[in-house]
């Protein structure tokens, strides 16, 4: 089904909630699949698992459609669901270390999916290497700092929106962002020093 006008996420979710409108749900998936997949990828460091987690997040959205409160923003609810799935996944890895990907293996798997956009092969390799370093540094951050950094820096959420998603005060979000950036600065210092 196509609509002659653009409907908001909340309107689409209302249709899903009240009439199981599959077209509206497909619209939501189309809009949000990539951001959610990106979030999961950065939170878990596993691009393929991120794809599964994103699908799981949308499955959960549909399953819990009647629990959605129309007074809130749909995106806030969706981010929260995706983050909970990521946390569960990370916890599962912590409980069963054999499931956690080895750093080297992880790195190879990840770099296979990283594509350079720079014209020169040398520059492309350098960019991939830098991205790899950043990705590893991010994964070394405690999860609550990583969440804030990913949502603010990569997904562009305002601090207030992040506070709403996480259910914590605005000041705490900024404080975590500050701590996250400071820790990343230390983790990346060596790489920055080596590459000028």
């Amino acid at each position: 089904m196509t609509w002659p006008f653009t409907i908001t996420d909340e309107q689409a979710m209302w249709r899903v909630q009240n009439s199981d409108d599959h077209a509206a749900f497909a619209r939501l998936v189309e809009r949000w699949e990539t951001p959610i997949q990106r979030l999961c990828a950065r939170m878990t460091g596993d691009l393929h698992r991120a794809e599964d987690l994103a699908q799981e997040a949308f499955a959960r959205v549909f399953a819990k459609r009647h629990a959605y409160e129309p007074t809130g923003k749909f995106s806030t609810w969706l981010w929260r669901i995706a983050l909970n799935l990521c946390r569960d996944e990370l916890r599962r890895w912590q409980r069963r270390p054999e499931l956690a990907l080895d750093d080297s293996e992880h790195g190879e798997g990840g770099s296979a999916e990283l594509a350079g956009t720079t014209p020169s092969p040398d520059q492309a390799v350098a960019a991939l290497e830098q991205a790899e370093v950043v990705r590893r540094a991010l994964l070394k951050l405690p999860e609550h700092y990583r969440t804030v950094v990913v949502l603010r820096h990569y997904e562009g959420l305002k601090f207030g929106e992040i506070a709403e998603v996480l259910g914590i005060p605005d000041g705490t979000v900024k404080s975590r962002m500050n701590e996250g950036l400071s820790r990343l600065a230390v983790l990346l210092r060596d790489w920055q020093a080596a590459n000028g």
Binding site: T34, A41, A50, E51, E113, K158, K174, L184, L188
Partner: protein, 231 residues
Amino acid sequence: MNHPAPETWMAFLYAELPAAAREDCEAHLHVCPGCRSSVETWRATMTTLDADHATLKLPRRRPATVAWRPVLRWALAASVVLAAGFLAGRSTGPSRDDVKREVAAAREQITAELAKRHETDLQALGAATLTAAATDNRRFFADFTRQLNQARSEERRDLLGALQSYEDRRVMDYAELRDGLKLLARKTGTGFRQTEDQLTLLANYLPADDAAPSSSNLKDTPQPANPIKIP
């Protein structure tokens, strides 16, 4: 010197500060080397983080055709087996008359089986109908009995109520009667006493001669059966 809080610097770096506060922060950076150094470090880190921004490529969604490949492979294998079976059957099968005879026999057998099954089904249906009817009847009688008992109970309750009210009325009437009799007895006693007093008074008024009638008079006067004795 008042340094902006780290939280304020975060809002500054991500352009979430109002214009006035932003200008204050920028002015502070010009005069405070410590804060300038921190902000430069954070900015450099943010620039480095952008490297992952530019190069992250999410895996493409797995095409739907991939899932059909095994199915198509199995379908092809099945069609090859079926074709081989058909060709083998054509070359080694029985003659046309044999086939006709077998078909006729099979038809008779199927007809007989169907008739038998039909009969069985009918019997089962009849039994089920009878069972259902019996169940309905039992339920109907149970309902009827229950309603009858209920009506009887109500009737008995009404009768007992009526008897009770009759008994109450009887007791009340008896009490009234007793009170009346008592009153009557009291009044009768009072009447007797008054009559007695009057007779005494009358006797005192009469002279002694007049009071004692002569024997001749007494003879003429009829005597009462029970003369009243005056004390």
